[in-house]
Amino acid sequence: MFLDLFYGLRDEGVPVAIQEWQAFLSALAQGLHGADLLRFYHLGRACLVKSETYFDAYDRVFARVFKGVEGQLGDEVTDRLLDWLRNAKDLPELTPEQLAELERLTSDELMRRFLETLGEQSERHDGGNRWVGTGGRSPYGNNGTHPTGIRVGGQSRSRSAVKVAEERRFADYRTDQTLDIRQMRVALRRLRQLTRTGLASELDLDETIDETCRNAGEIELVFRPPRKNDVRLLLLMDVGGTMDPYVEPMSQLLTALHDERGLRAFEPYYFHNCVYESVYTRARMLRADAVPTADLLRRLDERWKVVLVGDAMMNPAELLQPNGNIDPRRHSKTPGIAWLHRIVEHFDRVVWVNPEPTTEWDFVQTAKIIRRLFPMFPLTVDGITEAVQALIGARV
């Protein structure tokens, strides 16, 4: 059952290896959990989980594995449990071979005795239940919905470790569901191709030594340009209509991109539903902001990476028919699909990022058509990571 925690974490996709598990056991053996289930919870998290994005998975697994154990009496520490946990410190004095042999057994044994002790405890101290039950309103102030819930030292005793886990305060840090500007920036940071161009400002030591030798000892300093990011990025964003709910995540994406000063060049443009003759430099899309799409294609060469962001959701006519633009003032003889074709053909690497959940993609006819043209990724941190990979990674 103790190993359930380990395998539970692995099943949830948390990258935890035997090395970390051993560190955890060794920490337990040294009594670092101090015979307190809440500290046991924190110790396990510190040793086994290496990113706050997995804290939520840890919480879920911990709650599942230890739910029954703790339910009866909370993490009130008993003398017996304390005694037993003190004995655990004898473990590291075994020889390494014994330790290795016993490892599996040890952890199961640990859990068994843990459970036993807890069981006995609940029989003798019925009061414990009540104490824990009303813990939420106790003067210790560790109630379940505390703002951020950091407990200082001893106050943690009134609080159940499983309850801490069940609160799932780290759900917001999951990368597969949420979009956090910071994580987004981390994902975008991968968008880089380092090349040496520009001003020679870095001392090239090897060349300097070679040149100096050739110069019979007269020092000859040789400089070279430092390595810089060579990625040029064109961002085309769908605004208005069905995209309105996504304004917030979109502006986050844009902010993250703007902050990526590491890019060699970056140009954002806006469109509505589909790209036609013109794209716009500002989201209000007035005629004054218009830039002919053809100009864009002429000016930017195939090395530019292109990211289109849109829900790919429109009336099929808007995509496939001439004069399909939903705005009647803007006639466009060429259907939107032809413009999309031109973009795909002109640039080397193009991706489409779709803020709609992936489950919806198959139910939207236009999204299905566009997916045949563009590799499409969801607007999540994981999706952005994959999209970046598609832009700069090896071709598959």
Partner: protein, 310 residues
């Protein structure tokens, strides 16, 4: 003293926790730093396991300061290694100043024959070579290249390295206590993460924040502090903000308020010196818009929503 002493410790320490002179090294916090229970446990876990402690958290939650207080709390000297985007792993061990040697050979100054004169130990190298145990802070490891942490794996595992130019081997007599901070700008390689103990410093709740403020501004009036915290947490709750104010900004803001001698009454309806809290132009604009559109700035905890009113 806010940090509570650790309870329920085993009566005898195992050999790994003992240093050579037999004293028990355990971090218990310092009066100048408010460490939560889990954080203290994580520090001690890292010390006991002899592994680096990786600290993450929102900017301004005290990751870097922690190292200084760990050193102070344990009474050990401390070395800092601030990572820049150009930092290389080997620079932390040693730097061979070839250009200086080349220059000396040309002008006949210095002892060019002995290469050791041109080898300078970096922070990690000095931590290994030191005769006593010390605390080494590797600050903002995520700023360096993606491969940076991987280049240090062997040295951190074995606590020894060889100076290639001279063949000298430097072996750590005492395993330094390593604290590594990351601002999450890049992901760290798995192999490095596997060797670390990890702690994520959460943003302090109101009760903890009161204690933190008390450390920096011990004579702040209770009512004024309430007003300050209401404004601060309200600002943090606003979804439009691109950069939420952090603890260190709060402390600065209070300094500014105290120096201007502002009264609690004045603070009830306005947020003066907003530049101390909000660092992005758009955020200041957004707050201004909120004001001109008749939005109210709360003056009571009751206005802040259920999380703050229990």
């Amino acid at each position: 003293m806010i940090v509570e002493p650790l309870r329920d410790l085993p009566a005898t320490a195992t050999s790994r926790q003992m240093t050579t002179n037999g004293t028990f090294h355990r971090f218990q916090g310092t009066p100048g730093y408010i460490a939560t229970g889990p954080l203290v446990d994580a520090v001690n876990c890292a010390i006991a396991l002899g592994r680096p402690l990786l600290l993450k958290g929102e900017p301004g939650t005290g990751k870097t300061v922690l190292a200084r207080h760990v050193a102070e709390g344990l009474g050990m000297p401390m070395l800092e290694w601030h990572i820049k985007s150009t930092s290389k792993a080997v620079e932390g061990l040693y730097v061979y100043d070839t250009v200086q040697r080349l220059n000396d050979s040309r002008f006949g100054t210095g002892d060019v024959a002995d290469i050791r004169h041109y080898i300078k130990l970096g922070p990690l190298g000095r931590a290994f070579a030191a005769s006593e145990r010390l605390v080494l802070l590797i600050d903002e490891i995520d700023k360096a290249d993606l491969e940076f942490p991987n280049d240090l794996l062997r040295e951190l595992d074995e606590m020894r390295f060889t100076i290639v130019e001279t063949g000298d081997e430097i072996v750590a007599k005492e395993r330094p206590i390593l604290l590594v901070t990351s601002n999450n700008e890049k992901e760290l390689p798995d192999a490095f993460l596997r060797r670390c103990v990890f702690h994520y410093i959460e943003f302090p709740d109101v009760a903890t924040m009161r204690k933190i403020v008390a450390v920096h501004h011990p004579h702040l009036e209770a009512k004024l502090l309430d007003q300050v915290l209401i404004k601060f947490y309200w600002l943090r709750e606003q979804p439009e903000l691109r950069k939420k104010p952090s603890t260190s900004e709060l402390v600065d803001w209070i300094s500014a308020l105290l120096r201007s001698g502002i009264s609690q009454k004045q603070l009830e309806e306005h947020i003066p010196f907003v530049g101390a809290l909000l660092k992005k132009e758009q955020d200041v604009d957004a707050l201004g818009r909120y004001g001109t559109q008749g939005g109210k700035i709360p003056a009571r905890w009751a206005d802040l929503g259920p999380r703050y009113n229990q």
